[in-house]
Symmetry: C2
Subunit: 464 residues, 2 copies
């Protein structure tokens, strides 16, 4: 009898562990990152917008976590996306430029091969990966998503306002009465152009259908879905079903279609009972493009917008959703960055972070689970290669400012001594308190020196 007892005891203790491990193995969490384009801090109902209705995003917030101090890594598109993909400041990969703010259709560069994208890391762990939407990290073959970790790609390779045709109205006029044919932007499937110009009217709907199809096809495998919407970047387009859907006009219609899209994704996850095993992030690449007036979004109470390192240019309305793991209706008021998604997904998938390069990514797992804080102490605000500002705790020190919009200077202005704002108290960066806090300035200047000594900017890929 004794060996039988021992066997039973062994089965009790060993087998469950092995089974649990095996189960753990098959239960690697899925990840979805939904990335809007030029969405302002104030543009969702759950972030205080009075007239845009976002019931699906509101529900995502009610079931998940709202981040009130979550930042894009740059105030414009290409560098912001490069940082999201690599967990590194754009100047470390060279995906920024003092001369050309983003990649254009005549650019020859793109994301360097030696960068390890989050998709490459997850694919190495067995994840199925898809990119559906706007890429903007290089449109030549070697730079496309399918050569940077994604199994498949459907989307436009750069911004939807590029490739304007010669007979389209000049200047802003084209945006006021936008027509598909004005912008000869290609829609690509993997490395092939399948439609040109892309029918932008149905693009949000088609991205959504592709994303839902991908989820349905990969219910058994762990998957990573990156869904960077082309909207609400001007020119604004929406499906016929969303025409006059909103009280906010065309811009609101577009946001309400993106909100519908989020609902489709979350509903699919619920239907397939994948909700408790899928972490979904929603955020955006940079702030609202305010120079387009009613066609641009709103940064809410934050100062300025896209293109600027004032808060409105880089702080984004951000949500995280993971039923069973995130406390419903929770709010994180700590500083976090789109770059932190990189370390978070590595941690949750059990992948070691690369040790041969400098990362700017801090694991958000304890924040999401409510068990602790992120290790992030500093946030750097760059405009291309230029360090403009630094944040530490509630303090933001501006070494240089350049307004994209509003009462300040459109030319860069150097501040010596720097400006200092307490972003905890002074949400809209109105009251410079540098004179009262020389100690804070001194400490933050030492942080800047340390940061500068450690960094090796890579040559620009945007000027090739």
């Amino acid at each position: 009898m004794r060996w039988k007892f021992l066997l039973a005891a062994l089965l009790c203790f060993v087998l469950p562990t092995s089974l649990a491990e095996a189960k753990e193995q098959t239960k690697l969490p899925n990840f979805v990152v939904i990335f809007a384009d030029d969405l302002g801090y104030g543009d969702l109902a759950c972030f205080g917008h009075p007239t845009i209705a976002t019931p699906n995003l509101d529900r995502m917030a009610a079931e998940g976590m709202k981040f009130t101090q979550f930042y894009a890594a740059a105030p414009v598109c290409t560098p912001s996306r490069a940082a999201l993909m690599t967990g590194r400041l754009p100047l470390r990969s060279g995906m920024c430029s003092n001369k050309r703010r983003v990649l254009f259709p005549n650019s020859n560069g793109g994301i360097p091969a030696e960068e390890i994208t989050i998709a490459e890391a997850l694919r190495s762990k067995g994840y199925a990966t898809a990119c559906v939407g706007k890429w903007h990290l290089g449109h030549h073959a070697q730079f496309l998503p399918t050569n940077n970790g994604f199994d498949s790609y459907l989307g436009i390779p750069y911004s939807n306002d590029m490739d304007r045709v010669n007979d389209a109205p000049k200047g802003r006029a084209a945006f006021l009465m936008p027509q598909i044919r004005f912008w000869n932007v290609p829609l690509m499937r993997n490395e092939k152009i399948i439609e040109r110009p892309a029918d932008q009217t149905t693009i949000t709907r088609r991205y959504t259908e592709e994303a839902v199809r991908f989820i349905r096809q990969h219910q058994e495998s762990p998957f990573f879905l990156y869904l960077p919407h082309s909207m609400p970047h001007v020119p604004l387009f929406r499906s016929p079903a969303f025409v006059d859907h909103s009280r906010r006009g065309l811009f609101g219609d577009v946001i309400e279609e993106v909100d519908w899209s989020v609902g489709q994704i979350l509903d699919t996850l619920r239907e397939l009972q994948l909700d408790e095993n899928t972490l979904v992030f929603f955020t955006s690449d940079n702030g609202p493009w305010l120079i387009f007036n009613e066609l641009g979004g709103s940064a809410g109470l934050l100062r300025d917008g896209k293109g600027s390192t004032w808060e409105g240019g880089m702080r984004e309305p951000t949500l995280a959703w993971w039923p069973g793991q995130i406390q419903p209706g929770s709010i994180s008021r700590d500083v976090a960055s789109t770059m932190d998604i990189y370390a978070t997904l590595h941690h949750l998938a059990g992948i070691e972070l690369p040790t041969d390069r400098i990362l700017d990514s801090h694991d958000l797992t304890p924040v999401l689970r409510g068990t602790g804080k992120s290790s992030r102490e500093l946030l750097f605000y760059y405009r291309a290669y230029q360090l403009m500002a630094v944040r530490k705790g509630p303090w933001k020190m501006h070494l240089m400012t350049q307004d994209a919009y509003g009462p300040g200077s459109r030319q860069p202005v150097k501040h010596d001594p720097p400006l200092l704002f307490n972003l905890g108290h002074d949400l809209s960066e109105k009251f410079d308190v540098a004179a009262q806090h020389e100690d804070v300035i001194a400490e933050m200047q030492r942080d800047v020196e340390r940061h500068r000594r450690a960094f090796e900017p890579a040559p620009s890929q945007l000027e090739l």
Copy 2:
């Protein structure tokens, strides 16, 4: 057997009806109106504030209804409160003045006896009534709450920044390091002064304790509790428990104590199982006092603040809560006013509205129950006796503007032709579209003429 069967049948059909009627009679809903002082549209987490934590108000929103276009009736204190109490524009009762914006300690006037306050109306129907907090509708005996429909009163009779003592610091300095003794404001119980200066440090806590006590004492009777907090009007004070409670500094501490207070009220209602029979409103008297910088609140994305008829001066973060009657997490984006509380409470208590006077109040019951819209078509923005602007649907037409803060003029500026903004699209009143919508201007000017012909301003009570 037959008569027994008949009796049983009768009991089945007749008795329940009578019982239901009787129960209906005893089940008149309770009402609580919580009124903050100088709270901005952007000052609650559920209205988008990044650093102030308002978990109780957030829960109230999640369980109730958020109003995104809800207005105070005036951009300053006394007229706003008079309108809330009477359901009438302040100039109909004379509770405004072009010379003195509000009542002061040396004023002799107050709310006229012929006005029918909401408390008087409800008391006539058997409601127990209490006012706990700042009154500011006259401090001589005949004007006090206990002579205007309230069974009891605990609070300060006018603003907490009045009665400044001679040896207090001059100007703004007193607000930066506020001490109780700087303001010799009385605390009153009914018509007696019980403390002078009022200990403002504990005032929010004591108001809350009084309010909770009133609810506990009136569980059986229908009750009306009016709870106009003295805070967050400068000078700012909070209990020791709330010192450094917030990331937003002193102002945030004060809001977080008001939030705690709301939690106490709602928790008491839940505990006593009165929640499904009590309608609670939360709103404020006017926008944030921006000239006080970090000591003032934020209007969020709205323009300007207290004192101005730009949106930031009059639109308030408003919540309604009534479990079982209001759809949880609902949002009303229709235009409504604090004056509408008057008709709503009349309707729900089964009281006829007075027919011998002009009211500016529209029943919100269908909005709260999600069964329809309010009958309100027009909203008038007055600065004392001066009609400044009108709202109809998404349109706001400014006949005159006067900035309290910001880039515009501190002197009144007449606009002929008027300015026109589409508040659905243009949240921050940035883009005047009058030239493109002459038809809208013409229609709204006819509305103004009709309104002017019908109105008989009463002589000012504030200049007595």
